[in-house]
């Protein structure tokens, strides 16, 4: 575009290399390297366990990363516990469908307080260790750019995802399509049963503090003072 001559310049190869760190499910962008489960355990215990727990089970700073998957899931590629409504919480390994997602995210964002500090080999290693914790990879596994496609075939939830929906604003994934949920346009004597089935217990309202102090001091309505401080 001659129109904007002098605006912007070509990036140098070193610049692109420095920033183009993303890794796709087809492994475009994946740098060569490798790391063992054993080395991964070392990295994990040094740099990850303090937040995520020794077994990736902690929810003190974030949801547990590991748990809820089974050997059967590794076979089927569907995490069975996701079908249960009584299963408490969802771990990362229950949800993640692509090993590239884990690899890419750990490389770019973890450790949380020192993102991008891991050498490439350690990213392989700690990813392998996480998958070992979830019984996806054996303890003697050495993950590398050459065998990662095999690892993908063992991801417990690899078949548990879909893009069939109307919420992608492009023509891919089968196009925008028809929304799955339909509201009603009834205006008069509609068939709704206005019965209150869910309501906050008073103490849960107070869990959000004094609502009187969360509303403007003037206006047609005010914030509700805490229970027990109500003025008649």
């Amino acid at each position: 575009q001659d129109r904007f001559t002098g605006i912007g310049r070509d990036a140098t190869p070193a610049e692109v290399k420095a920033w183009d760190i993303d890794v796709r499910p087809d492994f475009q962008g994946l740098p060569p390297g490798s790391g063992s489960v054993q080395r991964g355990q070392q990295v994990w215990e040094d740099k990850c366990a303090s937040c995520h727990g020794v077994f990736g089970e902690s929810n003190s700073v974030f949801n547990p990363l590991v748990g809820g998957t089974s050997k059967a899931d590794v076979e089927s590629g569907r995490v069975a516990s996701l079908k249960r409504t009584d299963y408490p919480g969802r771990t990362t390994l229950m949800k993640v469908a692509y090993v590239s997602t884990l690899w890419d995210y750990i490389r770019r964002a973890m450790p949380w307080n020192a993102p991008k500090s891991l050498p490439v080999d350690d990213v392989y290693a700690v990813t392998a260790y996480l998958l070992n914790l979830g019984d996806v990879l054996p303890a003697d596994f050495v993950m590398s750019d050459r065998n990662i496609a095999e690892v993908q075939k063992r991801m417990p939830n690899r078949n548990g995802v879909t893009t069939r929906h109307a919420m992608w604003p492009g023509n891919e994934f089968g196009g925008p399509g028809k929304p799955d949920v339909t509201g009603s346009t009834c205006m008069k004597d509609c068939a709704t049963e206005p019965r209150v089935t869910s309501l906050l217990p008073p103490h849960a309202g107070d869990a959000h503090g004094n609502l009187a102090e969360q509303n403007r001091l003037v206006g047609p309505q005010r914030g509700r003072p805490p229970e027990g401080k109500v003025v008649a």
Binding site: I7, E15, F62, L82, A109, V161, T163, C190, P194, A232
Partner: protein, 404 residues
């Protein structure tokens, strides 16, 4: 009795008149403050209650967390930038704009680097759009969880954004628009947030590389000095601290489009790349946690929006959805923008169930909880756009409820 739960009513004025009229206050009989006490001003001290807030216990850390905009106290459609909701994954930064760079790479003739000086030199547009987090109202999928509309719906804001259409930059880099149907946007903060954007939306000219928000630069909490604006799409795609755009032939399956911001269906599958914020609305006054001071006339006010275009109609019910009336829409009604609605209502002091239901130009109608859960169950976390119900009790107290 009406207003029983409220703070005490003002004492009736003495017969000769209200002392606030009869006795001239200091501000009527004195000399006030000079100009430019503040080169950048701030709200009245009496407005201190109007703040963005965290929901206690919602997140385990404060850097991967959210703060909610006080919708119950806002007017019109513009969100003051100081009250814009926050969502950070690895904390916010105040980045030196003279050192910030934007790279365009991937399926392009030549990868490019732009400085802020250069980006701000290109032709820009300014457009009003809402931004809503995909997790807004997420706490309420299963049952009522929070007391006020700040917490139920406050991951929502609306601003006038100024920036360069991303398509201009892709053209300058010579992007392959035939093969490159996907775009990756990447941030410069610790999380280096990445999201896949459809080229379709970029080609339409709607996606902006934005630096301006409500007339000034973006706020640090909202991505200063550069963020992507992806109208109609959930906030996580509006990548903050934007440092890189890559053109590709496949989606990236990043953590925040395939592990989070995914919708768990009753059959245990996760929907990925669910991006559009579907048509939704909420009554902001009266709303949960408030108390009506008196019986009589009220103006029911609220906000409606749609990620698919313009809002065409908003219906309001005061009897829990049995009967509806079309609300007034405040113009201009803009594309993928908040629309303020209002309806006259006279409160007779009896319990009432207030609801609003929005429609958009695609023909979509906002669903009830029953309709939404009928398809998606109760475990989706994201994209809860069900009709909200507020119960007005005889005391004047308004409560967050769900009907069944």
């Amino acid at each position: 009795a009406a207003g029983a739960a409220a703070v005490a009513h003002a004492a009736p004025a003495p017969a000769e008149g209200d002392p606030d009229i009869l006795q001239a206050p200091e501000h009527t009989t004195g000399l006030g403050q000079p100009v430019v006490t503040d080169g950048y001003g701030k709200p009245s001290k009496y407005e201190a209650n109007v703040q963005r807030r965290q929901s206690p216990g919602l997140t385990q850390t404060r850097q991967a967390s959210v703060s909610f905009a006080p919708l119950q106290s806002l007017f019109g459609i513009v969100t003051p930038s100081g009250l814009h909701f926050e969502r950070h994954h690895q904390g916010w930064w105040d980045i030196d704009p003279s050192k910030h760079r934007l790279m365009v790479n991937g399926l392009v003739k030549a990868a490019k680097v732009f400085t802020m000086d250069e980006l701000m030199r290109l032709p820009s547009v300014s457009r009003f759009h809402f931004i809503e987090c995909g997790a807004n109202t997420g706490m309420e999928w299963g049952n009522v969880a929070v007391p006020t509309c700040q917490y139920t719906h406050g991951m929502l804001s609306c601003s006038e954004f100024t920036g360069v259409p991303l398509i201009t930059l892709l053209q300058m880099a010579g992007a392959d628009l035939k093969k490159g149907r996907f775009v990756l946007a990447e941030g410069a903060d610790g999380s280096s947030m990445t999201r896949t954007i459809p080229m379709e939306l970029v080609e339409s000219g709607q996606v902006l590389v934005a630096y301006g928000q409500n007339g000034e630069m973006l706020r640090p909490e909202n991505g200063y000095p550069l963020r992507l604006v992806v109208p109609g799409v959930q906030g996580v795609s509006w990548v903050k601290y934007l440092r890189r755009i890559e053109v590709g032939d496949q989606p990236w399956a990043t953590k925040d489009e395939t592990v989070h911001y995914v919708d768990l269906m009753p059959d245990g599958t996760h929907r990925q790349y669910t991006s559009i914020q579907e048509c939704k609305s909420v009554i902001t006054t009266p709303s949960g946690g408030q108390v009506l001071m008196d019986q009589g006339f009220y103006s029911i006010n609220g906000l409606a929006w749609s990620g698919r275009g313009k809002v065409t109609q908003v219906d309001v019910s005061t009897d829990g959805g049995r009967n509806w009336r079309a609300a007034r829409l405040q113009g201009p009604v803009m594309d993928k923008c908040l629309t303020r609605f209002s309806l006259d209502w006279t409160w007779d002091g009896k319990p009432a169930l207030l609801q609003s239901r929005a429609r958009d130009e695609s023909g979509y109608v906002q669903p009830s909880y029953r309709q939404l859960r009928g398809v998606r169950g109760t475990r989706s976390i994201y994209h809860n756009n069900a009709i909200q119900t507020w119960l007005v009790e005889e005391s004047g107290e308004v409560k967050n409820v769900q009907l069944g």
